[in-house]
Subunit: 352 residues, 2 copies
């Protein structure tokens, strides 16, 4: 394993060419727009229930579109190194790594990431790079790639697979390219509503007081400076609970933003389901709809996730919602585990 | 005059405490989202027609919200230094400076900029800091602050003054906070439409081929990487002519985006006019409506500026459009000139 400048944790490791079977582990990494989680699970099978997660580490955002390629890689390398150290394993114990990161949108992104991983890990280690949505789907289906996942956290994406390996996605293009259903999108629309009310271009809304209070600002004028001081997507998405509370208190502007978000999220799911014909010819065939992310969690009265499911099942009554019991990083690890198991069984599925 | 590290041009200058009356000049600076223009005009009066602009220099963006405070200041200092050198004047010849920059949204922004200018220029120099919209208004009214200006270039803002000095603004809050009528806003909506069509969430549009051709990209997948590679607002706003051409060719999606932009821009103007009662009690009093920026220029068939005027004059028939003959940087210089002239006449108007 090569060393990465400025990355602590690899230093104590040696680099044998082959990993021993005993103590072999798999690393699963989920890199979302807000943070990056790595889990280390044993490569041995079958699994016990609950899943034996040997270690779990967390770092900041590793979406290269948000923080840049260098910072994204440094974060990924650090979180993997720390997970290994915490699990008392050496890099030579690793038999597979699945990196599931937001911002992997194109085969070239995937290839660049694989090349970089190949420089870090010995040649026998199986490497998989996917969009983080794929790991989120796997977290709901215990590693099986079938159905549709909807992620709505800081960002949003819908991603689906058919049983025979076809795939499709919708949204996930980030804030500039219209991911309005996301936590960022909801928050940006709420801040825009505050500016419009202040300007005289839009109706009065309790969002003004609630957002200014939350941010400790005195006037909507100051909102502009606050916004451009640091445009990290996760920072802006932190306003989500304020928007939900404002809607729950009966504010029409906030309610309209959340209803709009429901429409956007449902439209992403339906676009994927339609393209993959997950509902079969009559639209009624059953398929898993995995729901992930803080936007989809139930609140007091506003349950965006439930509204989205209602909207999707009107068109596709066979969609059965799954709220995963394990986190997406475990989904990433299960994905690698399944791929290796398939190879051992002679049934090779190419995840890369 | 203090030296700024890394800024060429000041070096040869001396720093006498008082400026001589002969050869005195005024610097006017217009700092927009795309570039920064500085003009140097004589302080003597009355003016000849055409205006005797002694020199004109251009640099990159100086909106601190877009490029950061340090880079913005460096650009501003360089562009002023170069204008003086080109006009064969010394800093000691300067009797007033008006800096009109996008991104000055709050009294604190203004004060920080004034403090910084005060460190650079001798104490006798009159300093004025305004939002760039104020200079754009002055460019249409030859320095008189009355009426409303609409700027729609990379960004957009509407800004108005009453004759007795009350002022109001709308929009100008940047892309995160909903400036959808701007060149950036139009371009971002067009790119979003491409992603939505590709996803299956929106109708097919010629914007897909036209934008991909313009950017030299092979597939909408690549648009995401292109977008986040460099999020400078001006770079994204460069897609504007592609959107206008697509609309002129009859594309419904592009037409809808431009009509939406007209609605947004007219709504900004109307909000300012209403708050200042520029149209008087019956809404019919005459007032200048100064139109500035590339979004408002006529194209083959699509004339966004004309559509906005039509929309505004339906509510305020007294609005008379002005397309300035001088540029906003000259407007900034005229603003400083007018303020000094008022002081000399004993009629002090505090622009700061």
């Amino acid at each position: 394993m090569q060393r990465h400048p400025g990355t602590a944790g690899w230093e104590a490791e040696e680099c044998p060419l082959m990993s021993p079977r005993m103590g072999s582990v798999i690393l699963g990494v989920d890199g979302g727009a807000s943070n990056t989680v790595c889990v280390c699970i044993p490569a041995a099978r079958p699994f016990n229930d609950p899943l034996p997660v040997l270690s779990r580490t967390v770092a900041g955002c590793s979406n290269q579109n948000s923080v840049g390629e260098d910072r994204a890689r440094e974060t990924l390398e650090r979180v993997m190194s720390q997970a290994l150290t915490k699990a008392r394993r050496r890099p030579s114990n690793v038999c597979a790594v699945c990196l599931a990161v937001a911002g992997v949108n194109h085969p070239l992104d995937q290839q660049r990431m694989l090349d970089w991983l190949r420089d870090i890990f010995p040649s026998h280690v199986k490497l998989f790079v996917e969009n983080d949505a794929v790991a989120a789907l796997a977290s709901g289906t215990m590693g099986k790639l079938h159905g549709c996942v909807l992620i709505a956290g800081t960002g949003t994406i819908a991603y689906g697979f058919t049983s025979d390996g076809r795939e499709a996605r919708a949204a996930g293009a980030g804030p500039v390219l219209g991911d309005w259903g996301s936590g960022y999108g909801i928050s940006a629309q709420a801040m825009t509503a505050v500016v419009r009310a202040y300007d005289g271009r839009g109706p009065e809304t309790v969002l003004t007081n609630n957002i200014l209070d939350f941010l400790g600002l005195a006037s909507p004028d100051e909102l502009i400076g606050w916004t451009y001081e640091d445009q990290s997507w996760a920072r802006i998405a932190e306003l989500l609970p304020v928007v939900v509370e404002s809607a729950e208190s009966g504010d029409e502007v906030a309610n309209k933003i959340l209803h709009n978000s429901v429409g956007e999220l449902a439209s992403s799911v339906k676009a994927v389901v339609q393209r993959l014909e997950l509902g079969g010819e009559d639209g009624k065939h059953p398929f898993p709809l995995v729901m992930v992310g803080k936007v989809l969690e139930a609140n007091k009265r506003w349950d965006i996730g439930k509204e989205v499911i209602d909207c999707v099942t009107k068109s596709y009554p066979g969609a059965y919602p799954i709220h995963p019991k394990v986190e997406p990083a475990v989904g990433a690890a299960l994905l690698a585990w399944n791929a290796i198991a398939s190879e051992l069984d002679g049934d090779i599925r190419t995840v890369q």
